[in-house]
Amino acid sequence: MSEISYKSPLAATLSGRFADKAAIAWGRLRDHATAIALGLVVPLGVLALWSYAVQQQWLAEQILPSPLLVWETFFDLLATGELQRELLVSLGRVVAGLVAGGGLGLVAGLSFGLWRPLDIYVSPTIRAICLVPSLGWLPFFMLMFGIGEALKIILIAKTCFLPLMVASYEGLRNRPRKYDEVAAVLELPWATRVGIVIWPSILPSILTGLRLALSKGWKALILVEMISSAAGIGYLMMWGRKAFQLDVVFATIIVIGLVGWLLDWALLKSQMRATGWSFKAVG
């Protein structure tokens, strides 16, 4: 369909254009509305089933609190400021872990990509270490770093390390070489080459790695907060479990999912903005 990319004929009148634009805008609005309405069907259905299940007492009320109670609990947590407080603690940890682990991962990935001996002798060990899941490392980390703030941040950092290491490494190795040749032919200076040719060509891969790291880091955080913590959203959830108040558990799970989704969405948006060309080039 590459044949239709020429300019529109002059025949189209201004008023016609306006009407068209209005029609297009209306169409878009309608599409969005339809999408939202469709997307709400399942959650609303689940909500209805949930309410019905509560009413019919399919499950004991202690393990299936009514949606209304969950809603009230959610607002209660908001009103007392508990939710915001714990969430802030959690977000702080994730950011700290992401910066530390992701930064190291980036450096490691670039070093392995640029310096072959390092890649041959060191990277397999690092990869193998990273492949053992965070939960497996937890006992060691606890012994080494205690159970304080350091433990949480190190565990998240460890989780964020691998995605960024792999992303920067793969980005560097798989980036199209043909643009290097263009740069060479144009006799660009070294700094310009890095800034204009090399960095942009690995940026999409790195941003994808960053998104993966954040998503994994968020999940690792919840885990470590569930196991050993005195604060944070994961702790709040565990506390709800121990107090046998499933409404608190429900409310926190929903918050955990929403925050995770929001983080991912925000990063995706900024990724599209930063490297929009790579999304188009693929299609």
Binding site: A35, L38, V122, A128, L223, R241, F250, I253
Partner: protein, 264 residues
């Protein structure tokens, strides 16, 4: 895709083992010199002895088998459901509109965050663990299948149209094969999560079910920690990593066979 085909270099494998070997030597030397704190650090020899003992009395092998069995059961259920749902969402616009937002929100919930809810609903037994594992395995597989089915190039779909293939034939001959690389990638990730989820379920829940199928590697590790058996802790982590990598390799090897047309 990549033009960097400099892989088959001889001795790469052995070179990769150099650093770990050096670290183990250092560990043994440190132990022999009596530098290390006996409580926290055990000697390499002790770990090997514990491994042999673990296999002799069946505790380690039994735990490994239980974990593997559980992981596979959960993976098959979760990935199977994920394949079905993902394919459905991938090929039906209506299903996509209905389920996509929900699935995308749910998959952001950390797997282990489901534990309080699932244990309240399904107790501490096998049902709960398998449900948790299946839940973890579901999302990567569903995502892989959906992406695969949705991203079938229009050109191939048109082939189906001009050849007047039935819906079933289009699905079988065009969409599913075209989606296969993505499905396999989803399966790989899904197995990975299932393995992790199994370990986590065992570690965090550890029922102490006497009539159950055994508590597995996760509980083995938890118990080892409880009794401060550092050698067993190390063994548990080692097995966890080794089996995880092996499973991963198996899936990759299988996918090479399953999709020979797909290079890289």
């Amino acid at each position: 895709m990549s033009d960097t085909v400099e892989r088959p270099e001889t001795g790469l494998f052995w070179k990769a083992l150099l650093l770990p070997a050096a670290l183990i030597a250092l560990w043994a030397a440190a132990d022999a010199a009596g530098w290390s704190n006996r409580d926290l650090f055990v000697s390499p020899l002790q770990v090997v002895q514990s491994a042999i003992a673990g296999f002799a009395d069946g505790s380690l092998s039994g735990a490994t088998a239980a974990t593997l069995l559980r992981a596979l059961a959960g993976w098959i259920i979760g990935a199977g459901a994920g394949l079905l749902v993902g394919t459905l969402i991938g090929i039906s616009g209506l299903a996509r509109g209905l389920f996509n937002p929900t699935i995308n929100s749910l998959r952001q919930i950390a797997l282990f965050a489901w534990i309080p809810l699932l244990s309240a609903w399904f107790g501490n037994g096998e049902t709960m663990k398998i449900t948790l594992i299946a839940l973890g395995a579901f999302f990567p597989m569903a995502l892989g299948a959906q992406a695969g089915c949705q991203n079938v190039p229009e050109g191939w779909r048109e082939v189906g149209k001009v050849l007047e293939l039935s819906r079933r034939d289009t699905l079988r001959s065009i969409i599913l094969p075209a989606a296969m690389p993505s499905i396999v990638a989803g399966a790989e990730l899904s197995l990975n999560v299932a393995w992790l989820g199994t370990f986590g379920a065992e570690y965090l829940i550890g029922t102490g079910y006497i009539n159950g199928m055994g508590d597995g590697l996760g509980a083995y590790l938890a118990a080892a920690r409880e009794y401060a058996r550092m050698d067993q802790v190390l063994l548990g982590v080692l097995f966890l990593g080794l089996i995880g990598v092996t499973l991963d390799r198996l899936v990759i090897g299988f996918s090479r066979k399953a999709i020979p047309w797909h290079r890289h």
